[in-house]
């Protein structure tokens, strides 16, 4: 029982790590990023390729995450610029279509160029025992990485001036602009940061099992579900929703099988949007 719970929490943390970028980009940029899972895949595959070149796994991972960030930066500064010219629904729609096209480009590119590359990061000790429970080392490492990433994110948002600026834009873009804030530059920063967090989630997937080029769309859908259940503008909500879904996922896969689990998750997501469009756990940012 406890083993399943721990497994669920760890999976959930990884999901949150993936989904928080969608929340941030949606909250700040007003764009629903449908290429988000592809950032994770890019991060992971870049790491795998660099390791193939003989780099140390840690250095390769860091570079992989930076690579995902670079792609995010490029997306924000090039293809999304036309979308930012508009406001509200028009921007959402354009952003949705552009990122959708981008996800095709990334999927197609990886499939043609690196069809067989996959990332696996084996750890020296596969598992250890604490108080009678055997824990996979990978789970512990993933949990630590995810928690550290979230702690840093919260510290950045709550304790720094730049974080305050970010929150102010999330609350009201026009108001922030009137206070002398340049929303465009902050947006670029946040999109890059979000892409890096997705890249980290991708690298982390390599610790669990393996990350292949075909996983992008699956990551995007799961991240979207988590972001929606958490309330697409709330970061705490995303964290809680990810962990909750991870736990549901772990228990449901154990008891009723993977097929029904996915249905349960999807129905939960649809139900959440219809019953509480602001998200199940919509606390303040």
């Amino acid at each position: 029982m406890l083993a399943i719970l721990i497994d669920g929490i760890v999976q959930g943390l990884q999901l949150s790590l993936m989904a928080v970028g969608i929340t941030l980009i949606f909250g700040l940029g007003g764009v629903l990023n449908l290429a988000h899972g592809q950032f994770a895949v890019i991060g992971g595959i870049a790491t795998a390729l660099l390791m193939g070149e003989g780099l140390h796994p840690l250095l390769a991972s860091a570079l992989g995450v930076l690579g995902a960030g670079a792609l995010g930066l490029a997306m924000d500064r090039t293809v999304l610029v036309p979308a930012y010219r508009y406001q509200g629904e028009e921007r959402l729609l354009l952003g949705l279509l552009i990122t959708l096209g981008l996800s095709f480009v990334v999927n197609g590119f990886l499939d043609v160029r690196y069809p067989t590359v996959a990332l696996t990061l084996p750890l020296p000790t596969p598992s250890f025992t604490v108080g009678g429970i055997t824990i996979r080392t990978a789970s512990a490492v993933v949990a630590l990485i995810a928690l550290a990433a979230f702690a840093l994110l919260f510290a950045f948002l709550k304790a720094t001036l730049l974080g305050k600026v970010v929150r102010s834009i999330m609350q009201n873009e026009v108001g922030a602009g009137l206070c002398g804030i340049n929303p465009g530059r902050i947006r670029t920063l946040i999109v890059t940061l979000s892409a890096m967090m997705a890249g980290l989630a991708g690298v982390v997937q390599g610790l669990f099992s393996s990350l292949g080029t075909e996983l992008g769309n699956e990551f995007t859908s799961f991240a979207l579900i988590v972001a929606v259940i958490g309330g697409v503008r709330s970061i705490n909500g995303t964290l809680v929703a990810g962990v909750l879904l991870g736990i549901i996922n772990a228990f449901a896969s154990y008891y009723v099988g993977a097929y029904l689990t996915l249905l349960i998750l999807l129905v939960t997501a649809a139900g959440t949007i219809l019953v509480r469009p602001q998200g199940l756990f919509a606390f303040r940012t």
């Binding site: 293809v79 949705l96 996800s103 480009v105 043609v112 649809a270 949007i273 469009p277």
Partner: protein, 317 residues
């Protein structure tokens, strides 16, 4: 500058139908190209339905494949299991699709969901549909799908008869669209597309008209979905996947031009041409496809109808 001329909806309709009717002659009896042309007609009809739902009432339905597939699976499975005539089960499929679409629309309008949330709800709905089809193996045969050749109506078995039968359905869809837009509902759709709040304040029953648009559009999707199933020869979750239907229809509508009568046709022709040009690239085509979506969305968002109108100084319907 010459005065802006305009072409009436009715003459455009007749011209388009006649042109499409002549296409098989130009293809010179090639079965391969005839099949491509017939599939293009099917996608034009899907696009007409999507134009009603999304173009005119701003409901981003990302479950086109799911609605079409729901109708197709209902019709095919009932025909197979109960040994009924497909003519009897197709209306059942259409009603199922219309009810599903109407229900989705009603719930989302009542909950006051914005465009993007309707998109997410319908996206989740199509994922649920895909999983149900995969899971209910006893009825749907899961991933492998079902052969529909043996039970297809005679008219959808041959190449040329199918083309004209489907063209007839497309023509009916166009006439229905044309009449709908000229009616009171069309005016209401216009008002809703311009400004929903203002429409509501002007006394238009926004909920009713949005649900109407979604129901009509979904019924049309259901009809084409079932025809697609029998014409295509087999159905599987992949046939009705998001990537196979929804994305294609979305791009077609954008290419052609939203809220226009002939946009779906011009978009469908353009899309088919592009698709054929990209096909020889083999595995590269997903990437080229993605680049095209990005470029088109950024530079060509108002579609070919708007471009032609501007160039030729003719108001096109």
């Amino acid at each position: 500058m010459s005065a802006n001329r305009s072409i009436s909806g009715r003459s455009a309709l007749i011209a388009v139908t006649l042109t499409l009717a002549l296409v098989p002659l130009a293809l010179g009896g090639s079965a391969h190209y005839l099949r491509i042309a017939t599939l293009a007609l099917i996608f034009m009809a899907y696009t007409v339905a999507f134009n009603i739902v999304f173009g005119h009432t701003r409901q981003l339905f990302l479950c086109l494949g799911a609605l079409a597939g729901a109708s197709a699976y209902f019709s095919v499975v009932l025909t197979m299991k109960l040994a009924l005539s497909p003519w009897l089960t197709m209306p059942i499929g259409i009603v199922v699709a219309a009810l599903l679409g109407g229900a989705i629309s009603y719930v989302s309008v009542r909950r006051g969901l914005g465009v993007i949330f309707v998109g997410i709800v319908t996206l989740v709905f199509s994922m649920i549909f895909q999983n149900l089809v995969l899971g209910l193996r006893d009825w749907t045969n899961g991933e492998t799908g079902l052969e529909t050749k043996a039970i297809a109506p005679a008219v959808l078995a041959g190449g040329l008869p199918s083309y004209y039968a489907i063209l007839a359905v497309l023509a009916v869809a166009f006439v229905a669209y044309h009449l709908l837009m000229r009616s009171r509902a069309g005016t209401a759709f216009q008002a809703i597309a311009d400004d929903e709040l203002a429409a509501e304040l002007a006394g238009i029953d926004v909920t009713a008209y949005k649900v109407l648009a979604a129901t009509v559009g979904s019924a049309l999707l259901g009809a084409i979905g079932a025809i697609h199933a029998y014409y295509g020869g087999f159905i599987s979750p992949t046939v009705y996947a998001l990537g196979s239907i929804d994305i294609v229809v979305l791009v077609t509508l954008l290419l052609g031009g939203m809220r226009t009568l002939i946009g779906p046709v011009l978009g469908g022709i353009l899309f088919t041409l592009i698709d054929e040009l990209v096909r020889p690239l083999g595995r590269l085509n997903v990437m080229v496809y993605g680049v095209l979506i990005v470029v088109l969305v950024i530079t060509f968002r108002h579609g070919v109808v708007a471009m032609l109108s501007k160039r030729l100084k003719i108001r096109l319907p």
